[in-house]
């Protein structure tokens, strides 16, 4: 029961951060050049859909299609906000990130998939990966907001 609470806390934290960055992008839509749209869309879409896939496969272990669809949706939303060269890159990176997150979530649930011994790799040991990924995601969001100001 304890990992579930941890996952819900982390997903709400990251979801609020991602939604705030989406609002900022939507407000400043006109000011971007091509290079910034490509770089920002690649960075934010890949990490957001990766974390979404990870959390969704840990919360609903039986539905493998939900993370892929959510990754495609996230890529489409961010790409539509950031305009034309970003839409294709957003869809591609969203699908790739969601598949990666699904793989990592499946390994966290069942460590025997990677031939890890279940006792040696304890629960607290393995679940430190999503915590580190969440902290890194918030750092990347902060640096994206900083790069808007530069």
């Amino acid at each position: 029961m304890k990992p579930l609470l941890l996952i819900i806390l982390l997903s709400s934290w990251n979801g609020v951060g991602g939604y705030r960055l989406y609002r900022v992008f939507k407000k400043k839509q006109v000011l971007f050049d091509d290079h910034f749209t490509l770089a920002a869309c690649m960075a934010v879409t890949m990490l957001t859909s990766f974390l979404a896939g990870l959390y969704l496969i840990l919360l609903f272990p039986d539905f493998y299609i939900i993370p892929l669809l959510s990754g495609l949706w996230i890529g489409w939303r961010f790409g539509a906000v950031l305009r034309s060269p970003a839409l294709l890159s957003g869809l591609y990176n969203g699908a790739a990130g969601a598949l990666t997150g699904t793989m990592l979530g499946a390994v966290l649930q069942n460590p025997a998939l990677c031939r890890l011994p279940a006792e040696a790799a304890g629960m607290a040991d393995l679940y430190s990966i999503p915590v580190a990924a969440a902290c890194f995601y918030m750092c990347i969001l902060a640096s994206l907001r900083y790069s808007l100001r530069m």
Partner: protein, 137 residues
């Protein structure tokens, strides 16, 4: 098996050589090529370190994941900061993603020596393509 550590040392030397080469030709490289260089270098650094380290220490999955993610982040940042802030951002993201992927890949596969040689061939061909495209630009 210390042969893998010799292999990693050779990789680190190649990375230092590529960094010095790109640092000297920094003025010639445009935005698009810089973005590709940063992504390729971050991704291959994380891939190589993840696969080699997980085949050396198979029972330390979490530590190896963290180490390869940090190596990918460092390589992407170093090669990206030669050019631009946003280029560094894409390199960091790609390195982190590859660093989380590669220990999983390394622990699933059966014949790890074949995959290690294949990844090294991919890495050297990427270096060759990067040098050719820097020469042409």
């Amino acid at each position: 098996m210390p042969a893998l550590f010799y292999l990693l040392t050779i990789d680190v030397l190649f990375y230092i050589g590529a960094f010095v080469y790109a640092f000297n030709k920094k003025k010639l490289i445009g935005i698009q090529l810089g973005m590709n260089i940063s992504q390729i270098m971050g991704g291959t650094a994380a891939l190589l370190s993840g696969i080699v380290l997980i085949s050396e220490f198979p029972f330390h999955f979490t530590v190896v994941t963290f180490i390869s993610a940090v190596i990918g982040i460092l390589a992407g940042t170093l090669f990206g900061l030669l050019f631009d802030y946003q280029t560094a951002l894409t390199g960091v993201t790609n390195g982190f993603m590859m660093g989380l992927m590669s220990p999983m890949l390394g622990s699933i596969i059966n014949t790890s020596s074949l995959v290690i040689w294949f990844v090294h061939v991919v890495f050297f061909s990427c270096l060759l393509f990067i040098m050719i495209s820097i020469q042409r630009s």
